[in-house]
Point group: none
Chain length 219, copies 2
DNA sequence: GGGAAACTTAAGGGAAACTTAAGGGAAAAA
DNA sequence: TTTTTCCCTTAAGTTTCCCTTAAGTTTCCC
């Protein structure tokens, strides 16, 4: 679950990084509105958290641009102003939800879950593939109806592979799923995680394509 | 995936060569802007990465010349952080995207993928020919709807032949598809790969024209 | 028929992926 | 806080795979 956070306040940004990370999200953090467009061009995010008061340009403008570019990605806006107008305007301009600063992180998490559930169609945000069923809400995995215990990293990797099943993902793409823009670990780390996943689930589930990457085939 | 890199900084150039190479790109590296035109005349590239600050001539001039010559090839320009004007001018002059130095290699890779996806039309970049269907991003091949397992080198060769079906490709051109301007292996290596491709797919698919090269005919 | 180009087959070496174990660090518990 | 638990990463050793070379055979063309 990769999320784009656009927030110029360092303190707030850091604490959000930490607490979102703790809940299984991979967060990429931008501090300037101008950088958003470029990021969306190249990266896949599940949602955007957008502060409206940014140092370079107005958050509402960023919001508009995103929608004009045709992105349907869910967006939560953060606003400090008790300006009702801004909030309304934000929703009109394509935001899916808003939060008033200061807010409880609990609430942010709840709204994120709701949004992600909403766009992934079903009420239960679950992905299925090849006898595998993963619930994105509580990081649970079932294989042939038997529960399987995975660590955070393992779950993230598996979720990425399942979400893009039928496509080969390079080790670097998997690194990104784990670490976002942070400096990645060595490729060996991925190999070890894959190894553990195969041991816990099924040795034939994740296939390697030498020199290219890993894939879970579509069923 | 052959790419032309125009960059005078030795250190940066080398690290880009390595990491692009690791991601399946074949990179040809020039350090002078004047050499670009000649290369484009004789070689086929999927994209160009062009540093704007070159020792011999201005990168923007190179860009203009490329476009004036009618090449539609995607171009990413690299520019120092403060040259906003250059960036804008670059985009006006026909660049498809830009990166600010210093940049994360991750980001460059992502943008390359996006650009290549964009020009090859749909998200699923597939080429077809003579009952052959290859997915470029998965390194997958189907022949008459049956999957065929190929190695990386075999796939590259086949992809080149299919992409230019109807044209004869010399062994040297095929070497270049595999190795760029790196020292190539002996021609025998190509012969062996072709042999294996014929064995795996269909002995009559790839034709040899004695003294000239190999061809897959158009259908 | 002779020579060059292409085809075929097998083997060696090196790189990519797999496997296992251990250390260090972060989260959780006390 | 201190302690404990857990797991992510690194490191090192093993296995697997495949690219290239080499050597021999066949085909083509002069």
């Amino acid at each position: 679950m990769r999320i784009l956070l656009v927030e110029d306040d360092i303190l707030l940004g850091e604490s959000m990084m930490v607490s979102l990370g703790r809940h299984g999200f991979t967060v990429d953090w931008l501090q300037l509105g101008n950088q958003v467009e470029a990021s969306l061009k190249t990266e896949d995010f599940m949602a955007i958290i957008l502060d409206l008061t940014l140092p370079d340009i107005d958050g509402l403008k960023v919001l508009k641009k995103i929608r004009q570019a045709g992105h349907k990605i869910p967006i939560i806006i953060l606003t400090a102003r008790d300006d009702i107008e801004d909030r309304v305007k934000g929703l009109d301009d394509g935001a899916d939800d808003y939060l008033l600063k200061p807010f409880a992180l609990q609430e942010l998490l709840a709204r994120l879950r709701v949004m992600i559930r909403r766009i992934s169609g079903n009420t239960e945000s679950e992905i299925e593939c090849k006898g595998l069923r993963l619930s994105l809400q509580n990081n649970e995995v079932h294989y042939q109806d038997k529960p399987i215990k995975l660590t955070k990293a393992e779950f993230k990797l598996l979720a990425t592979l399942v979400a893009k099943s039928g496509r080969v993902l390079s080790k670097d793409q998997l690194q990104q799923a784990l670490h976002g823009w942070d400096e990645a670990a060595s490729d060996n780390a991925i190999e070890v995680h894959i190894h553990n996943l195969r041991k816990k689930i099924d040795s034939k589930l994740i296939k390697n394509i030498r020199g290219v990457g890993y894939i879970i085939e579509k069923d």
